[in-house]
């Protein structure tokens, strides 16, 4: 069954341009059917994994170290669940939003690339082979470059080009890292590597390979000093794509990092043998603070959200590098929650652009009186971003703080508090302008059209829902931890 998770998006990406020759409107429907079908299969197989344990599929029937395998276990089932959900929402959103942002004659090819991107990220999440990971990283990246380049402004081309250069350096670093590890072990299968590596932990080759693998993934993940490509890429791409990339792109790299750190290498290697943990806790803390500070300085709404993403990525890597159960659990829940809330915020920002053509925060004056419902969704998602109790963002931060206390890194607590206050400030700035700013002109109500409003509503309501009923993310992430800690 799990083989269809990648094959259906791939098939639909072939189908979209062909059917697009007949009628342009088919692109959307094929993509929608694909998203629904994939999501259904993922729910079904996640449930199966949850009940019966990890599922494996051998391609061509060749057993693992020799052939390539798919593995679906507790960890990546969480990730593909959220990815498929965000993709479904983005596809629903895209129909109306793309009408204004993409030339209609290119629409079917655009959907084709979107499906290829979906194929790529699902492929990264589900593969059990380390070289296959590289191939799918390239599929996802190539389609992401193209999607970003389709933005309305000419800056989008430059953003796409910069992402291409940095992304290719990252991917090639991953390739070098795979080469070094392959040279030391002679194997490419993740499960097999986990067995072969421990006796080689003191080899310089393995350490260098590890360094380059993590460095490459950090470039893709946009951790603070390596983040330069992210703000422009998110700002200048079409609204649907901003939301899709913010919800899935960096999350999948975070997943790949967790997989490499804890499932290919072991926690003993990360913490005791090399000083990985210390360096990255430090970097993540800087990322958390700097992301929020830079977000404060922005004039453009989407750019502000993009910089806030950099801060939130800091939380994820912090949880990963603290390397204990609660922190890692917090990190996985944060991947889940941050996808929901950032997607909601980008949907709403795209909605402002669709309805009023607004991009800068300064121009939002009085918009809350024109679109009260939309603005209330913005408040919900924004508060969740800040981490107010009873929202989803609170849960993940809580787990990370517990993890920090367990590892006795007390400095984490003031930093998280500081960053929460900073994010409250930048969310508040938007709210203040939109509620109390003097608007010029008419103030009759005009909400977003339903196709734009509905996905934004779903994702922001879920932010509250998962803040109160925490069972689903907590249980799923607990299962993921069990996989990583091996019991």
């Amino acid at each position: 069954m799990i083989v269809y998770i990648v094959l259906i998006p791939l098939l639909s990406s072939l189908l979209t341009p062909i059917l697009g020759l007949i009628n342009r409107k088919t692109g959307f429907f094929v993509t929608l059917i694909n998203a629904i079908l994939t999501f259904t299969i993922i729910i079904y197989s996640t449930r199966k994994v949850y009940i019966y344990g990890p599922e494996r599929y051998f391609f061509g029937g060749f057993e693992p170290p020799y052939g390539i395998e798919y593995v679906l276990d507790g960890l990546n089932s969480v990730i593909i669940l959220i990815i498929a959900f965000i993709y479904l929402l983005s596809v629903l959103y895209s129909k109306k939003s793309l009408e204004k942002e993409i030339e209609q004659k290119r629409i079917s090819l655009f959907y084709c690339i979107m499906n290829l991107y979906f194929t790529g990220i699902l492929g990264i999440a589900i593969t059990g082979d380390i070289f296959n990971l590289y191939v799918f990283i390239e599929i996802a990246s190539l389609s992401a470059y193209t999607l970003i380049a389709m933005g309305l402004k000419r800056e989008s081309l430059m953003a796409s080009y910069n992402y291409l250069i940095i992304g290719t350096i990252g991917a090639t670093f991953v390739l070098i890292g795979i080469g070094y590890i392959f040279m030391a072990t002679g194997s490419l299968n993740m499960a097999d590597l986990k067995l072969r590596l421990p006796s080689l932990y003191h080899s310089k080759m393995v350490r260098t390979g590890f360094t380059f693998l993590t460095l490459g993934l950090m470039l893709k993940l946009a951790l603070f000093p390596l983040h330069i490509w992210l703000p422009n890429a998110y700002t200048y791409s079409p609204s649907t794509i901003s939301a899709l990339l913010a919800g899935t792109g960096t999350k999948v790299s975070a997943y790949a990092l967790i997989r490499i750190l804890y499932s290919v290498f072991t926690i003993d290697f990360d913490v005791n043998i090399i000083p990985f943990s210390k360096i990255f806790i430090f970097l993540s803390l800087i990322a958390i603070v700097m992301g929020s500070l830079l977000a404060l300085a922005q004039k453009n709404l989407k750019k502000m959200l993009a910089y806030s993403s950099i801060g939130q990525i800091g939380y994820i890597t912090l949880g990963i590098s603290l390397a204990n159960e609660s922190a890692l659990q917090g990190s996985i829940i944060h991947i889940f929650n941050h996808s929901l809330m950032k997607t909601a915020l980008f949907f709403i920002a795209g909605g402002f652009f669709y309805k009023q053509g607004i991009e800068n925060i300064q121009d939002l004056k009085g918009i809350a009186r024109k679109m009260p419902l939309t603005m209330s969704l913005f408040i919900i998602a924004g508060l969740s971003l800040v981490g107010v109790p009873f929202t989803a963002g609170f849960i993940s931060k809580w787990y990370i703080v517990i993890g920090a206390v367990e590892s006795k890194y007390y400095i984490v607590i003031p930093v998280i508090l500081l960053s929460s206050i900073l994010s409250l400030v930048y969310i508040w700035r938007v709210l203040e302008i939109s509620y109390f700013g003097e608007s010029n002109g008419n103030e009759h109500k005009e909400e977003l059209p339903v196709p734009l409003f509905f996905p934004a509503m779903i994702s922001s309501v879920l932010c509250i829902f998962f803040g109160i009923y925490t069972e689903l993310p907590v249980e799923l992430s607990k299962r993921a931890i069990e996989i990583l800690w091996g019991y």
């Binding site: 590289y134 191939v135 470059y145 193209t146 430059m158 290719t168 090639t172 390739l175 070098i176 040279m183």
Partner: protein, 122 residues
């Protein structure tokens, strides 16, 4: 010492080549030049992979009655895949560069940044 150098020089030269390419990618301001650097960088990584599959006295991994030792075929397979990935990246990058030239009228990074700043100030 001499043995050490002789036994490693192949890897070292491929690393030197990688670094030449990486320098071209980072330091050069011309957009096409960056892509040329990228090509050199990736091809040198491929050279590194192929070097690790070589065995002294081995022959090409195609069945042959007289063969005693075959070279390791796995790196060859991986690199066949990677070459195609590399050429695809080049193609997409050059397509973006053509569009950039159409919209900005130049392919020098500094000039494009200047143009973008002017636009933002307005």
């Amino acid at each position: 010492m001499f043995d050490f150098i002789v036994s490693k020089y192949n890897y070292w030269i491929s690393i030197v080549l990688m670094m030449i390419g990486l320098y071209g990618m980072i330091a050069k301001k011309n957009l096409v030049k960056k892509i040329i650097g990228m090509n050199i960088f990736q091809v040198s990584v491929f050279l590194f992979y192929i070097s690790m599959g070589k065995i002294k006295g081995g022959t090409a991994p195609i069945y042959w009655e007289k063969a005693v030792i075959y070279d390791n075929p796995i790196p060859h397979v991986l690199i066949l895949t990677a070459i195609v990935v590399s050429i695809s990246t080049t193609a997409v990058a050059l397509a973006i560069i053509i569009l950039i030239y159409k919209k900005f009228g130049t392919i020098e990074e500094d000039k494009i940044l200047e143009l973008m700043e002017k636009e933002n100030r307005r």
